[in-house]
Symmetry: C2
Subunit: 173 residues, 2 copies
Amino acid sequence: MTVSKTAAVGPARPSRSARKESADAATESTALQMGELSELLGYSLKRAQLKIFEDFLRCVAPLQLTPAQFSVLLLLDKNPGRNQTEIATTLGILRPNFVAMLDGLESRDLCTRIRSANDRRSHILALTDKGRSVLARAKKLVAAKHEARLNELLGPANRAALLEMLATIAREF
Amino acid sequence: MTVSKTAAVGPARPSRSARKESADAATESTALQMGELSELLGYSLKRAQLKIFEDFLRCVAPLQLTPAQFSVLLLLDKNPGRNQTEIATTLGILRPNFVAMLDGLESRDLCTRIRSANDRRSHILALTDKGRSVLARAKKLVAAKHEARLNELLGPANRAALLEMLATIAREF
């Protein structure tokens, strides 16, 4: 194994111009050369997604809902009578993670699991009254704060184009 | 707590037309109404990102690299002499996760940690020769398989527009 000399000694800071070039880096003080990373769609998607999830958490903080919990409540509201497996599969959540998430939602009285009359091994999921009320409040916060700011940043046309491309990737890639 | 009747009885399957409407659902057999979810940028980003990461793992399977490991190798290659904290901060990886990732990369002789001469608490990171060689092969696989297919799906102009919007979100949101 060989390590280049620069690694052992190491430039303390890149030059001003080098720092300026890597506009993508996290902060000025640690600005690194991003190289091919800034051209990688997967990396850019992940960074944007993390930013959006952070903002979501801030906007919905009074209700203590994560994006994944919000998506479960939304889906239960739209699809009464569906079972645990159907909801988890549709959202692409792995079974153990989904069970843990339902435990959390149920302990807060936001949803409930009912043993299916047709198949005793299957659990039907349903929102509680409290779940419906929390969902309604969360929807308002998301629309008024989170989505409104995204709309402002991108503009409605770009936002629609972005959604369309993301849906294409999710569906066809 | 009240649960609506439909939840207890539950429709076995939505009608054919209802199933057709929810084109976003994971599979035909479990197609649910996605409702507001399909309009939520965060949700769409997450689904697209998961698809892209799955494809990345498939394309780079011979080298056993995750997207995060690939991004670390890329960054180390472009930024010799930087320390652990700078790399982790730039990639937005939490310290405990980053330490575990470095343990894995180091055990495979892909990178190495060198105690800094200036600050004994700080570790300078460097690619090994094997790390450079694996990175070079990974870059070829990513370009020839993963990115080429994405380019084909979206078209170069859309792909560039998508990257631009994601960068805007990561930078300004």
